[in-house]
């Protein structure tokens, strides 16, 4: 019994990363960042507005949060749809009550299906970023590059037309990528993407078509991960968010501006029994000194201006 000798060879064993997408850099070695008006913590509230197709193909995996029952899985289809009909309007009220500037991450298919909701979002004028075509249109290792390129072009063209915005940002469905996704995003005019969770601040990411900025959108703190995946209580989610807020504010005082990124979903936190927990978290965060609620692109611009 033995393994091929290449198993004990380590071609990438040298300084820095084992790939050339970005440079190795410890957060504490970077130049401190200042947010506008002396603020310490940028609050990025990112709302996933998602369409989970009933006829889910699950290629190459079933998207977390998607259909799990035999067709037609009305239970999950309609419960996800609840977020776009009901939950989102609870969110909007909460945002206005606490003066939050949200960012909306939309599947382009949802934008096509819900013109009324698009009008509401356009009227508000908050930033819209692209969350891919729909939750079953995954990007994945081994995917045909031409197929993926067409998928990205369709999603961006549709969302840019329907939103009237140039759409600078991207989150892949399930944050899943192929090896080509960053290259294709840059080729399609995307400036920043949020799939890589390896930092608490933005950093530059190389592609074949110029640089992207990776924006730090924590998965570990998102509502779906904490409440659905981990099965923690809603109160625990609030506690974790408040602890993160305290920690990052404190770190920002010593090391320069930080970002608290909350990725939330109206089909989950928009439920009647959960919305008060979102409100409690927003109340806590916005009552701290030094918090700046801003859209993802605004935070990016402010950061970029100081690099």
């Amino acid at each position: 019994m033995s393994l091929d000798k290449t198993y004990l060879e380590y071609p990438e064993r040298s300084y820095g990363m084992d790939h050339d997408r970005y440079d190795w850099s410890m957060l504490t070695d970077r130049k401190p960042v200042e947010w506008p008006n002396g603020n310490k913590l940028a609050l990025w509230v990112n709302v996933g507005l998602q369409f989970f197709p009933l006829n889910q193909q699950g290629k190459p995996f079933k998207v977390p949060g998607g259909m799990t029952m035999p067709y037609p899985d009305l239970r999950h289809y309609s419960l996800r749809d609840y977020g776009n009909r009901v939950g989102i309007y609870r969110f909007l009220k909460a945002f206005d009550r606490f003066n939050i500037t949200p960012t909306f991450a939309l599947n382009s298919r949802l934008a096509e299906r819900t013109p009324y909701l698009m009008d509401v979002l356009k009227e508000r004028g908050n930033e819209i970023l692209c969350h891919g075509e729909h939750m079953d249109a995954l990007h994945y290792g081994g995917q045909d590059k031409a197929e993926e390129a067409a998928q990205i072009e369709r999603a961006l063209e549709s969302l840019r037309t329907l939103s009237g915005q140039n759409v600078r940002g991207w989150i892949s469905p399930a944050k899943s990528e192929s090896a080509s996704t960053p290259d294709l995003l840059a080729a399609n005019g995307i400036e920043y993407f949020c799939d890589w969770v390896n930092d608490d601040m933005p950093y530059q990411f190389r592609t074949e078509n110029g640089e992207l900025t990776a924006m730090p959108l924590s998965t570990e703190l998102e509502d779906f991960f904490v409440i659905q995946n981990n099965g923690h209580s809603e109160d625990s989610w609030v506690e974790q968010v408040c602890d993160a807020c305290d920690f990052l504010l404190n770190e920002a005082k010593k090391q320069g501006g930080r970002i608290l990124a909350l990725n939330i979903h109206p089909w989950l936190l928009g439920q009647p029994h959960r919305i008060a927990r979102l409100e409690r978290a927003l109340d806590y965060i916005t009552s701290q000194d030094g918090v700046w609620s801003a859209g993802a692109g605004e935070i990016l611009d402010c950061w970029k201006g100081q690099q």
């Binding site: 064993r13 190795w24 290792g141 969770v197 390896n198 930092d199 703190l221």
Partner: protein, 314 residues
């Protein structure tokens, strides 16, 4: 395949010869930060997939990278605050990839022990010579970059062969005599050190490294809340401290910079450390120091007591 790995004999957790830690401490307390490097494109292993999906495994790879970019410094600052020197379970290729982290730990006189080369290269399927070569490479790398004679082992990603402990001990002796390859963290059968049977007959000990207190087990496998993790640590300590009055116990918190150092989790860990180090009779130490102390003072009496029990004497 064997029914029992044969590393140790049954040894009841009562009436054991009393262990007294230095300065009358009841608990030997150590923190073992795993500082790991996972590869984006590791080679295939016949028995275990490194990532659940085809490359690139963005989610798994990037959160682990977070541990090195962001988390390490946070955990190190908390350990500094409470006077804890880490005993690092090290993916030794990190010496080449991220020497800045190695330097920071060296400055603090932390211990480095081997956790293989990469946490995406598994022992499964290796020949004896291959596993020996991999272990030797890891121990030589630690010595080259830190000057430390590696004393401990935790197999990469807890992937073992039947010979893992033997090989580690033998390579340790070849490289460093009695100073190298003296303890393992791979066994979870006890709250006190256990002499381990090796084919070489070398004096070698299992030092408790807890899976239950391991942050990744708590957060990823058991999916518990940060505050509950903090409470579990305190409860674990309370009982070991109480029992340590009868005979010294060991408490270990194994951590990962990508878990414990997230902004929503560090507070619970810090509170637990504050609680533990706020007690008088705690020996805040490292894996190597515990192993050396036990081998020097209690290994022989432990062997004699185990032999007595194995003979049926109560």
């Amino acid at each position: 395949m064997k029914e029992d790995p044969g590393f140790y004999d049954y040894w009841a957790y009562h009436n054991r010869p009393k262990i007294e830690w230095p300065n009358g401490a009841k608990v030997a307390f150590w923190v073992a930060p795993n500082i790991e490097f996972y590869e984006l494109n590791p080679p295939d292993n016949p028995q275990r997939k490194p990532w659940p999906q085809a490359a690139p495994a963005v989610a798994g790879y990037s959160i682990r990278d977070y541990g090195n970019r962001v988390g390490h410094m946070r955990q190190m600052q908390v350990l500094d605050k409470y006077g804890v020197r880490g005993s690092i379970s090290l993916s030794t290729a990190l010496c080449e990839h991220h020497p800045e982290i190695i330097e920071l730990c060296k400055e603090r006189n932390w211990e480095f022990f081997s956790h293989g080369i990469y946490n995406t290269r598994y022992t499964y399927g290796m020949s004896e010579q291959q596993e020996r070569d991999m272990i030797r490479d890891s121990m030589e790398t630690i010595y080259k970059h830190t000057g430390q004679k590696c004393a401990g082992y935790l197999a990469p990603a807890l992937s073992h062969s039947e010979l893992t402990l033997d090989l580690f001990a033998e390579v340790g002796t070849e490289l460093f005599g009695d100073e190298g390859g003296i303890y393992t963290c791979d066994l979870f059968h006890d709250d006190q050190p256990t002499p381990i049977h090796l084919r070489s007959g070398k004096k070698f000990v299992s030092i408790p490294y807890s899976l239950e207190m391991n942050d990744t087990i708590a957060y990823v496998v058991n999916k518990i809340e940060p505050r509950r993790y903090g409470q579990n640590i305190k409860d674990n300590f309370d009982r070991l401290y109480q029992e340590g009055a009868d005979s010294g116990t060991i408490m270990c918190i194994p951590t990962h910079n990508y878990q414990v150092s997230c902004p929503h989790r560090l507070k619970a860990f810090e509170e637990a450390l504050e609680y533990i180090t706020g007690h008088d009779d705690v020996w805040v130490t490292t894996g190597r120091e515990i192993a050396e102390y036990f081998l020097e003072n209690y290994y022989d009496s432990a062997l004699a007591d185990i032999a007595k029990q194995s003979g049926g004497e109560i």
